[in-house]
């Protein structure tokens, strides 16, 4: 099962290597990972999407927590949360398909952010499944390149993960 885990870490050199090394060294998989500083510049937040059965996910949570630089680990899997991911998609936009590309972009409330004679670059934000869906719809038009951020997650309501 897929799990989204948020990790607050001290923003220090080598912390990403510790987290990545933990996953590779213990044979856990990372589906996506995004990292950036929080409001408090000494703390970074990592959002990790991983897969595994309950035993593995429990180990991942505990092992992350065990790292000295880790301040907090939150598994969002069974929590009420909002998750968003962004993708940039470079899709060919020929005479016959340009209108369809724009229509799909519009339906998904995505944006064309770069226009070239025979291709558009599109920015889309949403849940991972929404991003999957637009990619599927654009695929027949000829996708040249896709870059995805992997999801970031926040708890719903006034609850805060950080403190």
């Amino acid at each position: 099962m897929k799990h989204t885990i948020s990790v607050l870490v001290q923003n220090e050199f080598g912390v990403l290597a510790r987290v990545a090394g933990l996953f590779s060294g213990r044979g856990f998989n990372i589906e996506s990972l995004s990292v950036a500083p929080t409001l408090e510049p000494t703390i970074s937040r990592m959002t990790i999407v991983t897969r595994g059965d309950d035993r593995i996910i429990e180990q991942i949570n505990k092992q992350l927590h065990k790292l000295i630089n880790t301040i907090k680990v939150i598994d969002f899997t069974h929590k009420d949360c909002v998750a968003r991911e962004m993708a940039l998609i470079k899709v060919s936009a020929e005479e016959g398909t340009r209108a369809e590309v724009l229509r799909i972009t519009d339906i998904f409330r995505a944006k064309v952010i770069d226009v070239a004679p025979r291709c558009y670059s599109i920015e889309v934000t949403g849940t991972s499944s929404k991003v999957d869906a637009i990619i599927e719809l654009l695929r027949p038009m000829g996708i040249k390149e896709v870059v995805r951020t992997g999801p970031v997650v926040l708890a719903r309501g006034a609850r805060m993960g950080e403190k």
Partner: protein, 565 residues
């Protein structure tokens, strides 16, 4: 007063109470060595950086204090890795300091540069690169704190040469501030309550104790619990010295080379109380059939140890002494419950006694050739109770675990988790440095001994009277045993074809060498060695194809032991 980085380092060590360190100099630590020249800190020069780390490890295991090792950059640092990994697997508190090339050169493939922080990340509890002298006192403070608290472990501090010569005002912090590091010491009272209930309801309880009980305090808690509820106790290699083997409740070692009765008891038990143990594969055998009828209570300070390998019915995270004290206190209040439990478990203890009689730990004695187990029994007989025993890794290590009756905590130093050949001699060196007046004996094999035999020179130089018993079978015996049992006796690369004259080797280093090849000579050889006031090698030519039995073949269940014939 302005001090240099290397002076600050030594002052930090002094304030941490460090008296002895183990190391090997080199270009990137030459400033530290220059300051050591005038320092009250005693430095022991090993002949290899790996040995320096094992020596610090032996020092730490024997004393319970943080061991300290020092090595130069590059190859000096990479040579420490096996020692660090050994300490990490066995949760030994240690601080390893490595020199590093000057910070502007880091990443340039400079002479004797290695990314030791990157290399040791998976085998340290934590590690640091000191980039600014202002961080140095805090880092050293944190390193010692992290090494000795929670589940102990090695911490590496990589210390670039330009930071060693930089200067700053020295102030040693009183406290550490580590928001991400708060080990749980106090066991949850509700979990303890549930444990009391489970214990009182048990009919076939077994206590399974690991390295977490190696401190005298935890060992005492363990003994109190076991005696109160009259439950048999089996230990891992790491937990062995914490519970006296002669204790009527002792089952000895469990697992691959464990006793018949320990393995049977665990297999039939209905409640397994795991105390500071981690269900290693050498203990569990086939995980699916491990303790199939038992509910499992798992007490450990490290939450990641719990439910890592086996299902657990009741986890209790906390310091063992705290949790065991709470359990003993609560159970002591349940007079009726406990006496009921003791009555109800009479049959269980009788069954275990019957197993002990049926299949005691034994070997076939001989009056023609020296049996390795016989040497170990004799060493036990002839040494004091507080003698410190170290081993290398292999058959001799398992025989020591099986046939040496340990009775005091911190007297058995062996590489359990990593299984590092070459550990025994340098760790004995470290233990002897900590306790000059105690008997320290490295029980060794001829294969393992050669992995760090250069440390004979250190023993002689620093007048460390370690006694080395080499059980020489001219084989890499444990691998040979597997080849005999599972690979049709195809002894691929396990025959040590060049016979070594260990007596001459000892003499070449200025130590004493003794030799025995007949059972009648064993006792006299050990007696002579113990009388000599200096390092001694005792070489015992032992029965070459003796095997370690019982044995649970890899991947089999504990009750599928192959027994001694």
């Amino acid at each position: 007063m302005e001090m240099t980085g290397s002076q600050i380092l030594l002052e930090c060590l002094r304030q941490e109470g460090v008296e002895t360190i183990f190391g090997f100099p080199g270009g990137a630590v030459i400033n530290i060595y220059d300051d050591l020249f005038d320092s009250p800190i005693h430095h022991i020069l090993t002949r290899h950086e790996q040995a320096a780390v094992h020596a610090a490890d032996g020092y730490a295991r024997a004393t319970g204090r943080v061991g300290v090792a020092l090595a130069t950059s590059g190859p000096g640092a990479t040579n420490t890795v096996t020692g660090i990994a050994t300490a990490y697997m066995d949760s030994v508190p240690m601080v390893v300091i490595t020199g590093q090339v000057p910070t502007p050169l880091i990443g340039n493939d400079a002479f004797q540069e290695a990314d030791i922080v990157g290399i040791t990340r998976p085998v340290t509890k934590h590690n640091y690169l000191v980039k600014d002298i202002k961080d140095l006192p805090r880092i050293i403070k944190e390193a010692f704190f992290i090494a000795r608290t929670g589940r102990p472990g090695p911490v590496l501090v990589d210390f670039p040469k330009d930071v060693q010569v930089a200067t700053d005002k020295f102030h040693y912090p009183d406290k550490v501030n580590l928001p991400g590091y708060k080990p749980t010491y106090s066991g949850n009272a509700r979990q303890v309550e549930k444990a009391v209930e489970m214990i009182l309801g048990a009919r076939k309880p077994v206590v399974y104790a690991g390295g977490g009980v190696s401190s005298p305090e935890a060992g005492e808690g363990l003994t109190q619990l076991a005696e109160l509820i009259q439950a048999p106790v089996t230990t891992t290699l790491m937990g062995m010295a914490a519970f006296p083997k002669k204790h009527p409740l002792s089952l000895g070692l469990l697992g691959m080379h464990g006793t018949f009765f320990a393995n049977m008891a665990v297999t039939e038990s209905d409640l397994l109380i795991a105390v500071g143990a981690r269900f290693d594969d050498r203990v569990t055998g086939k995980v699916e059939t491990f303790a199939p009828h038992a509910k499992i209570i798992h007490i450990d300070i490290d939450p990641t140890s719990i439910k890592k390998n086996v299902r657990v019915d009741l986890p209790i995270v906390g310091d063992l002494r705290d949790v065991l004290d709470k359990l003993v206190k609560r159970l002591s209040e349940e007079n009726e419950g406990v006496s009921g439990l003791i009555d109800e478990t009479v049959n269980w203890r009788q069954k275990i006694e019957a197993w002990k009689e049926e299949q005691p730990m034994r070997y076939e004695p001989s009056d023609k050739e020296i049996k390795p187990q016989f040497v170990i029994e004799k060493i036990r007989e002839m040494t004091r109770d507080d003698a410190i025993i170290t081993t290398e890794v292999g058959q001799h290590q398992m025989w020591t675990a099986q046939f040496f009756d340990f009775s005091q905590p911190r007297t058995f130093l062996t590489s359990g988790g990593l299984g590092t050949m070459g550990y025994g001699l340098p760790s004995a060196l470290g233990a002897q440095a900590a306790f000059p007046g105690r008997q320290v004996i490295d029980i060794s094999g001829d294969g393992s001994f050669q992995m760090n035999s250069q440390e004979l020179a250190t023993l002689v130089q620093f007048n460390l009277p370690v006694k080395i018993a080499i059980l020489n079978n001219n084989y890499l015996g444990m691998v040979r045993q597997w080849q005999q049992l599972f690979f049709k006796k195809r002894y691929s690369q396990t025959i040590m074809e060049v016979p070594i004259d260990f007596v001459k080797l000892a003499e070449a280093y200025g130590a004493k060498g003794l030799h025995a090849s007949h059972p009648d000579e064993v006792e006299a050889t050990i007696r002579r060695a113990l009388e000599i006031d200096g390092p001694v090698i005792m070489e015992f030519k032992v029965a070459r194809e003796e095997n370690v039995m019982p044995m649970v073949p890899a991947g089999k269940s504990l009750n599928e032991m192959v027994l001694a014939s």
